[in-house]
């Protein structure tokens, strides 16, 4: 049993060591990765004035928020489908996008967009993200979707028409699932790299794309020095953690207030 315990510690360490090393070096007062020249915040100060990074952050946020809202809105009616047989078929059809290699989806999307002559930029990236986010939103929603639909039937026996039942019962009851779907799809979109790379046009960068652009040509400008890239990547991690934390807090407060559904 002791062995198992050490194994688990080692496993956790392996998960975190690369990230911790990167975070440490984002505070390194040196231009190169691997030599420690003392603590500094200059890479973060530099980020504050980095217009490229700000614009990439803005693009990332816009795409992630829109994609989360649109994909969740599209997934809600599907998740509410009450009839079991049909629901099974829908679930079966919706899961494959989750397991298909992302690169294939990305290439397929790119080919389709080019075939259609669709201009590549914010909208094409948004379409790409939303297309696969619908599957994740559905997965996050389907546990509460069944409850929401069932309780809507109860509301109708009490005299509520379809619309009132949906508004007063289904939506509030499904709120934990809706929030989960929004959070999950936001994160999927915010951290996505491959699909963005294949569907973006020139000049439209998101944060992961910017990290990639700089990391593959390190050291050419102050912005692309290795610690500067580490600082940018660390910022990306911090934003992700902040969102996950906000979601967790919401979930804890909700279950304290309302109990498990």
């Amino acid at each position: 049993m002791k062995l198992l315990k050490y194994y688990t510690y080692a496993l956790i360490a392996m998960l975190y060591i690369p990230i911790i090393v990167m975070i440490l070096y984002s505070f390194d007062n040196s231009k190169y990765f691997g030599e420690w020249n003392g603590f500094t915040l200059r890479w973060y100060e530099q980020l504050l004035h980095d217009t490229q990074a700000w614009s990439a952050l803005k693009n990332s946020m816009v795409v992630a928020v829109l994609s989360a809202v649109i994909s969740t809105a599209i997934a809600i009616p599907a998740a509410l489908m009450a009839r079991d047989r049909e629901k099974d078929i829908v679930s079966l059809m919706i899961y494959p996008p989750v397991i298909i290699p992302e690169i294939t989806e990305a290439v397929a999307l790119m080919l389709l967009l080019i075939y259609l002559g669709f201009p590549l930029g914010l909208v094409s990236v948004l379409i790409g993200h939303t297309a696969f986010n619908i599957a994740y939103a559905y997965i996050a929603l389907s546990p509460v979707g069944g409850t929401g639909a069932r309780l809507a039937v109860a509301a109708r026996t009490l005299g509520a028409d379809r619309f009132t039942a949906f508004l007063k019962v289904t939506i509030p009851v499904s709120m934990p699932g809706i929030i989960a779907a929004l959070g999950l799809t936001f994160m999927m979109s915010f951290t996505d790299f491959i699909k963005t790379l294949f569907t973006k046009g020139p000049g439209f960068d998101t944060l992961p794309i910017l990290v990639w652009n700089r990391a593959r040509r390190p050291g050419l400008t102050p912005y692309t020095s290795q610690p500067a890239i580490a600082a940018l990547a660390t910022t990306l991690i911090l934003i992700s953690i902040a969102i996950a934390l906000a979601y967790t807090l919401y979930e804890v407060r909700r279950s304290e207030k309302q109990g498990e559904l």
Partner: protein, 325 residues
């Protein structure tokens, strides 16, 4: 409150190739408790949902007081429905759950409060203690009462209950059944109660419709159905019964009508006592006659039989019921 008469006529319900209901016709009298009793899968819940308008029938009509409501949406039927899983709203407290049907009817606020309190009182929940509670803070029995209060507060023309007490302890169930009867008496509502439990059906019903395989086999008061079952299925499903092959079909003899070592009987057999089970005031005895087990129920006082005893058992012809199948 005056309940409506519900009349379902020739109801057939098919799901694909399965037939859930097969030409069911039933008159449910106003201001009484009618129970749909049958094993799971017999179609009783489907029939309840068709009365509520939650499922459309494949064929047949539904009438409330002679008015055809077959195509009427559930929210326009003025029904109360208590679901098997209760379907209380977890995002609302007890007061708002009960008030839901009044709010969608745009009842003025003062009236809402009065009626919600009335309904909570009716089901035995003290409003001052329970109104602000969250649903998940209540016990199973309390949740059951909220579900009934929520369905009753709108003064429904007909109250439909789908195995509402299935998951409760025996004692709480007995108490709620009595309460349901009292509520029905006080409100005069028409109540349709679905259960697979014969004891619940006996305890609560004015009238019982025994169902099997999508059909109604027999309708009558609990006493009628118990004393005069029209088939071996009804006899065995509603109460304990010995069903033996006989002239013109089967003979049914209730276990409490079987006599042990009788002075006088129309039919007598030699038998061995196989088993004696202590059931409080009653003994459940199994006797073997020509390789067949006969169930016997007797009061415990004075009865001294034990497994292995050789006895004579018999019955009076007037206690025997002949059924065709």
């Amino acid at each position: 409150m005056k309940g409506v008469e519900v009349y379902v006529e020739g109801i057939t319900k098919k799901y694909g190739s399965t037939t859930a209901l097969d030409g069911v016709t039933l008159r449910i009298p106003p201001s009484e408790i009618t129970t749909l009793l049958g094993p799971s899968g017999c179609g009783k819940t489907t029939l309840l949902k068709i009365i509520a308008g939650l499922e459309p029938p494949t064929k047949g009509r539904v009438y409330f007081d002679g008015r055809d409501v077959t195509n009427l949406a559930p929210e326009k039927r003025n029904i109360g429905f208590v679901f098997q899983d209760l379907a209380l709203f977890p995002h609302l407290n007890v007061f708002e759950n009960v008030a839901f049907g009044l709010r969608v009817r745009r009842v003025p606020e003062a009236e809402v409060k009065k009626r919600v309190y009335w309904a909570l009182d009716l089901v035995g929940l003290d409003p001052s203690e329970f109104a602000r509670r969250r649903i998940h803070e209540l016990s199973g029995g309390q949740q059951q009462r909220v579900a009934i209060a929520r369905a009753l507060v709108i003064e429904p023309a007909v109250l439909l209950l789908d195995e509402p007490f299935a998951h409760l302890d025996y004692k709480i169930k007995q108490r709620l059944l009595l309460q349901l009867k009292r509520i029905q008496r006080e409100t005069g509502a028409t109540v349709v109660y679905v259960t697979h439990d014969q004891n619940e059906a006996m305890a609560v019903s004015h009238k019982i419709a025994v169902m099997n395989n999508g059909k109604i086999l027999q309708v009558g008061s609990p006493e009628e159905v118990y004393e005069k079952p029209n088939s071996s299925f009804v006899a065995s499903f509603f109460g304990e019964a010995n069903v033996l092959p006989g002239e013109g079909g089967f003979i049914v003899i209730r276990p409490e009508r079987v006599l042990i070592n009788p002075d006088r009987a129309d039919t007598v057999y030699d038998a061995y006592i196989e088993d004696v089970v202590f059931q409080g005031p009653l003994l459940h005895i199994e006797a073997r006659v020509n390789g067949k087990i006969i169930k016997i129920i007797k009061p415990r006082n004075g009865m001294v039989v034990k497994p292995g005893d050789k006895v004579r058992i018999g019955w009076l012809q007037k206690d025997v019921r002949v059924v065709p199948e």
